[in-house]
């Protein structure tokens, strides 16, 4: 396999993808990096609080080790996923000044890893981002607001971010879209889990079909109730509110602001396609915009199957990258 497309799209993995194996201590941080490298996914995205115990207080020895791994496996750090725990204190939110301390901490950490981007959670406001820009410029690390469902490119909150970034004219404030904004079908593994928990198959199927056909969430929820749905059925219907199916062509239009991409997926099928997310439309849209960054795998199927089935994140990620290669060559 090659490391990327002829148009310059590169392949990477967010280690988030291997969370099940890391959680159960079946893979160490180093082994996760090695698994990504094995499939030619040389861009490594990480979450400090997930696989770097002690974060944010990491020793120089840790960073030295990290760079040793990057060299050994031929990988590079791409993105650090910042969390910004604004609810650290029980009775109040962090002040803006306290948020800046966190930004400084995360941007410095990213720079130490050698990552060029941090992912900022979509709940962070444009006002906070504007304040953080000088810090991002100081470390020369870009900040990308995660465009994560139910947000999408044209959502007013994201448009405000884009307006703020445009007004500042900085190269350090943009977006990290999560491909979950192109969910054309609700994950069937999530549907099946609801059935295991006690939801009604007929209502689950109705919701899946209605979502796929583009019906409004409010109507679907209303209908699920009318069908006599129990609490689980209604909560499945409410899932439609948290999911969006938008047009992948938007990627081309917003390209100047796209720093990095979360290649979200739930289930790679035996035929090499993803059940919910149309990568056959996403990759041409990225190529049309000459995207030069990473497609960073974000496997999120484990939470829907772990109650009943063994999880094999490594195989799921491998399949996704085989799909990328096939689509790059198409």
């Amino acid at each position: 396999m090659t490391a990327g497309s002829r148009t310059g799209i590169r392949r990477g993995v967010s280690l988030y993808s291997y969370q099940e194996e890391y959680f159960l201590r079946k893979l160490s941080l180093e082994q996760c990096i090695a698994e990504a490298a094995k499939i030619g996914a040389f861009g490594i995205e990480s979450i400090g609080e997930q696989m770097m115990p002690g974060f944010p207080n990491l020793s120089d020895a840790f960073y030295e080790q990290w760079h040793g791994w990057m060299q050994q496996y031929g990988t590079v750090a791409t993105c650090h996923d910042a969390m910004l725990d604004t609810k650290k204190y029980k009775h109040r939110l962090l002040t803006d000044d306290e948020c800046m301390v966190e930004f400084e901490r995360d941007l410095r950490h990213a720079a130490k890893l050698g990552a060029k981007v941090i992912r900022v959670l979509c709940m962070v406001s444009p006002e906070i981002m504007i304040k953080a820009v000088p810090i991002a410029e100081k470390y020369d690390v870009k900040m990308g607001i995660e465009v994560h469902a139910p947000y999408y490119f044209d959502h007013p909150w994201i448009m405000r971010h884009l307006e703020a970034a445009e007004r500042l004219g900085t190269k350090h404030y943009g977006l990290v879209p999560d491909m979950g904004i192109f969910t054309r079908r609700l994950p069937r593994i999530a549907r099946d889990r609801m059935e295991r928990l006690g939801a009604t198959p007929k209502i689950l199927d109705y919701v899946c079909e209605a979502y796929e056909s583009g019906q409004l969430s409010e109507y679907i929820i209303f209908e699920a109730r009318k069908m006599g749905g129990n609490a689980l059925d209604v909560s499945w219907a409410e899932q439609c509110r948290h999911s969006v199916n938008t047009n992948p062509k938007r990627l081309t239009e917003f390209m100047p602001y796209i720093f990095h991409i979360h290649a979200k997926f739930y289930e790679m099928l035996d035929d090499g396609t993803e059940y919910s997310i149309p990568y056959e439309k996403i990759i041409p849209a990225l190529e049309a915009g000459s995207y030069q960054g990473y497609l960073s795998s974000e496997y999120e199927g484990n939470r829907h199957i772990q109650d009943a089935f063994p999880v094999d994140s490594v195989e799921q990620v491998r399949r996704q990258h085989a799909m990328f290669e096939r689509l790059f060559a198409a």
């Binding site: 969370q19 159960l24 997930q50 115990p53 969390m83 204190y89 979509c122 709940m123 109650d307």
Partner: protein
């Protein structure tokens, strides 16, 4: 997420002090995809055979430090790392009687981007030898 891994059932045991059984404990993991500072672990609840344990009788040990739930609320340094097995202790003279018990454990985690606490819940039948 990770609910089924919250209680490490093979670790459940009675604890003794000065020759008397003072309670029981079990290994517990966080029901989230990353670690958290303890102040954001908004609540832990335990029930045994359907009976809720008083919050005052719960202790949480991580990294060789032990906290009451009240102390966790203002603990801004210690962390419960992702996948780390912490110890939940229940102060209960006599501990658990020999045989099977239904142990239920819930975690409420305060997450910045969620409007309500993230809840994890695990229930397992455990055996005291």
């Amino acid at each position: 997420m990770f609910d089924r891994y919250m209680i490490c059932e093979e670790t459940v045991r009675n604890v003794s002090q000065d020759g008397r059984v003072t309670g029981f404990q079990f290994g517990a993991r966080i029901a989230y995809y990353r670690g958290l500072g303890l102040s954001m672990v908004e609540g832990l609840a335990v029930s045994v055979d359907g009976e809720a344990v008083s919050p005052d009788h719960i202790r949480f040990t991580v990294g060789n430090r032990t906290f009451s739930l009240g102390e966790m609320e203002t603990e801004y340094e210690a962390r419960w790392e992702f996948g780390e097995v912490a110890t939940v202790s229940v102060l209960r003279p006599g501990g658990l009687t020999a045989g099977e018990h239904k142990l239920e454990f819930t975690e409420d985690l305060r997450i910045a981007y969620m409007p309500f606490p993230l809840k994890g819940r695990d229930a397992k039948v455990v055996r005291i030898g």
